[in-house]
């Protein structure tokens, strides 16, 4: 357990996560979502307004039928639906195992 937490755990894009993924937001990186339908500064503000802030707990709850898109994500105390294309900008790290 101490070993795991001292390692620099790999981060992935929320847009690549599977249903059931739990983790924390490590960073918002607009360069990782080049296919998003908005200019980077606007996309970042929209994500922030819906509560995607560094450190917030996230869990991927549901996904759609076609291509697993869109996804429903629990962000802290709110459930947000978004497409994987935009969720690529949310960099997440696997959460510590619950004690």
């Amino acid at each position: 357990m101490t070993l795991v937490s001292t390692l620099d755990r790999a981060t992935i894009a929320l847009g690549d996560a599977r249903v059931g993924f739990r983790g924390r937001i490590a960073a918002l990186d607009m360069t990782r979502a080049p296919a998003a339908g908005l200019p980077p500064s606007e996309l970042e503000r929209r994500l922030l307004e819906l509560g995607f802030v560094e450190g917030a707990a996230v869990e991927l709850l549901h996904q759609g039928l076609f291509g697993g898109d869109p996804i429903a994500v629990r962000v802290a105390a709110t459930t947000i639906a978004l497409r994987r294309r935009e969720a690529m900008a949310v960099v997440v790290s696997q959460q510590d195992p619950q004690p």
Partner: protein
Amino acid sequence: MNVAVDLAPVVTLVGNPNCGKTALFNALTGSRQKVANYPGVTVEKKTGRVVTPTGRTLDVVDLPGTYSLRARSPDEEITRDVVLGKLASERAPDLIVCVADASNLRLAIRLALELKHVGRPVLMSLNMMDIAKKRGIDIDLEALSRELGIPVVASVAVRRGGIDRLMQALDERTARLEPAGTADWRAPDAAALRNAQREADRVLRVAIRNAGKLDPGTARADQVLLHPVGGLIILLAILFVMFQAVFAWAQPAMNLISDGFTWLGVQAAALPLPEIIRSFLKDGLISGVGSVIVFLPQIVILFLFILLLEDLGYMARAAFLMDRIMGGAGLHGRAFIPLLSSFACAIPGIMATRVIDDRRDRLTTILVAPLMTCSARIPVYTLIISAFVPDTKVWGFVGLQGLVMFGLYAAGITGALAVSFVAKRFFWRTTAGEPFMLELPDYKIPQARSLAMGVTARALAFLKRAGTTILSMMILIWVLASFPQPPEGAAGPAINYSLAAKIGHAIEPVTRPLGFNWQINVALIPGMAAREVAVGALGTIYAVDAGEGAREKIGKALAGQWSLGTALALLVWYVFAPQCASTLAVIRRETGGWRWMAVTFFYMLALAYAAAFATFQIAHAAGAG
């Protein structure tokens, strides 16, 4: 009372979407509220009067739900300008009430922090406290108020006495109005939003325990309702029940209304008045009003379903399930709600497109909304179907008439998807569209009172329209069909000598390739006021008395006069044609100019002409012409 009524302090309600703001507004103002003509859910700006316990009168303004004052859509521009006191027609708020869902406070607290920069007094109303308590969310009101630096009161909008404390707070805060402070609000950039959300999270940690718990009921329901396959099947089942209800449940009420107007017509015809006035009362006025009001039950049932799904919290799920399917046709997931509303009437549907942030996505949705089969098409469809399609079963259990009806709905939907696909590809030439980002609220049990108020508002809007535009058009068609009167001893129906017949004959060369005769042409003209008027007009033209079994008689007259090809072509025409002046007027208003109205009119006209032409020519070639 020391405050003049017209100078009552202005209290403005601001809050996140789904925070229960509309329920709170209803609880505060009751029936003393003004809603615009065609209200969509949280789209229209609503105002109402409140009388506080000490007798003070307040003007309450309900604004569309928002996450930030930063405007990203026409909706949010209104919210921002009203809150900042920048909208010329509105008085600036004397008190801002930040409405928050107590069980979902994280984003609301950030909004409250932002509202403090407006320079007006702010009060937070923690709504749905009962639900938060039940879920074990423990809120320290004093700590929250202290950390936020604004007063916080708890409320339960849907319970009697649930807003007493809010009323008291409104009373106290408006008794001694603070002068407007310095407004230093600026549209926040990413850094400002990040800092504000961090501050909000700090406040949340200090004041609330168990804030992040997922509602177990919602979690369980979503396992089923958001299931990739099962969820879609349930959505289709809900839509099926909805349309079944519109057709089946409305029938008894429609029969009652229809019989009532028949009775009135008989009474009017027996009055000791000159023939022409009796004819006007019976055939113009009474049958005109009756032919429109008869749709009220269908409109009420449809809006009941739409509002019920909205209040339940299901509409956002429907948008989630439909996003990829709609996206394939170039439509936004949020377009699902406006397009679904358009099945009742394109007017509220087009107004509901304000929830779509991106202008191009919004215009595409507005363009195709009139192709959804609205309830005004139903009487035309049922009339022609019952006259021309045999009442038999295919595969043993599916009614052929119902199947044709389903086909007409499907044709409208397919047409809408095709048009939006073409618009996206060739008109806008874009691939990446507006992102789909939407909060999925917890499921809530809808409140009967709020549903009743919503349905009433829409029913009244329909009746108002029926009472003005449609009635005057019905009178116009009676005049056109009655004058000039036929010469003494003339043969054939009197209408053959009227102005209406002359117009119908004049445009006959254009409509002949569609299989339309001059009688149909005449009916299509008043059908511009409202599609359903065409039914009454056909009755007048084929000299069918309104009254007992009028619809069956009109159907019989048509079956004797038209070929199957003509009937099918007219049905197809009605799927696509821009046969509704009110819809066009709303498009003009919503898009701010004639351009998009003209685009809509001409593309629909072209589509309708081409489709009806093809239908009639194919039917003709197949020997049904």
